[in-house]
Symmetry: D2
Subunit: 150 residues, 4 copies
């Protein structure tokens, strides 16, 4: 099983809104930051997938915000695979406040894979090494949190 | 029942990403644009709520993206109340391509209400007129789409 | 001289920051909204330019923010041509608060034109009709403001 | 003279636009990321300034984009003080591609300082330690680039 480090994000001023907290749309962007990070870690970054003609659009988004995040804080985002069959991929995420590992937000994104012609493909059949690399991603959150679910 | 018009949004260049489509995080922002719009329409805009010391943070987010949206297109966003008991509010949304009323994205956001001290309040007890105004919001999508579910 | 209408923008909650005003980066985005709008008005929208293989990247940005803009306000953005020789284009902008026509922000963006191969082109030589259309854009702000400089 | 490290930013997918490059508005946001970073480094972070009742709004923005920045790249942003008299502050910035230290963008932002009542203040008179700390910021770009101008 590949070791995956959490993605560290320093909260930016432009991410706040006038409620004095991070605007909720940024959690969705942080999920993407983490997704990009873990693909980089397994050696199949988005840029390489795109160079290979593979796109992986977001089909579904879910987020639950339990605690507001503030400017001046740093967060860790962790991802794990919830479901993957080579055609559909569901990732899950946790956003933790770095100072005390409190989980502020959890969420999921669902993806398919498109080939160069924009039509859905099976990673398993068309890009077996990429498929294998994805399979090696952790199924549960590990690294970076006190309460790892192993 | 209050008549509510859809929110019209012209897709902006800065909303696209290098997949040549609108970045998915913008759907969450468009939900907010529509939410702000319908509150304005019922006479209780966010700015007025905030002036009255009421905040309404986003607790949950859901979105399903069925069709990509592109620069050069205009979309209509419609909202309706899925659930409201004075303490929790769930809104649902539809993003339609204006040219042909195709639904590109659907979603939901869940909210609570906080008073000036940052603690949850019951709109029903504390702000009965706001509560009544929210109750008058449509329970299903109406206006602006060919396939209104009435 | 082509008549150009100002671009109307309702300030969004996600555009605010915790200083309770619109984050300054949005003025740059609003300049783009207006630029896209006036190109649509002269019949050469960005999407059409891109379809013709013309890109028009931003090379320089300038903005002066004189008054903060707030959530709940609506602004008008007006553009005019400061300089255009078929190779380089400089546009200037004014952001006015709609309620009282107070100018909140002024700015400029500088552009070149790239062909399908990503190299600079002369609009005048390669796309004379587009060149002519750009020439017809107003040289000073007109429409939508009390203090038009004519 | 305080040592200041450059701010490292990994380009995010949501920062790209359909021209396949980073949208220009993000340079303005990166300037802010760097500004926040160097204030943290000198021990007077934005959050501390705000806690002390000091706001520092952006009055002017300038940027020159010489090279496009792409997804998959990492950039370093460096800042230095161009002018500071305790009342007005002008910072200058350089965005360098990390892989080869090529300068992709340069820029400036101008600021004033507001007290808790929203009126301009002299840092020098009202917050002499903050004034001294700002004075200690480098006057030219140092650190993180091959071609340091020392």
């Amino acid at each position: 099983m590949q070791t995956i480090t959490p993605w560290i994000h320093k909260v930016q001023y432009y991410e706040t809104d006038q409620m004095q907290v991070v605007h909720h749309s940024n959690f969705i962007r942080w999920f993407e930051e983490c997704r990009v990070h873990i693909l980089d870690e397994i050696g199949y970054g988005y840029d390489q997938l795109e160079a290979a003609g593979i796109a992986s659009p977001v089909l579904t988004i879910e987020a639950k915000i339990g605690k507001s995040v503030h400017f001046g804080e740093t967060v860790k985002i962790r991802a794990a695979i919830e479901k993957f069959d080579g055609i559909r991929l569901t990732l899950k995420y946790e956003v933790l406040r770095e100072s005390d590992d409190v989980v502020c937000c959890t969420g999921k994104t669902g993806h398919c894979f498109l080939g160069a012609d924009g039509r859905p493909i099976s990673l398993k059949r068309k890009f077996p090494e990429v498929y294998e690399a994805f399979l090696a991603l952790p199924k549960d959150f590990v690294g970076g949190g006190e309460n790892d679910h192993q």
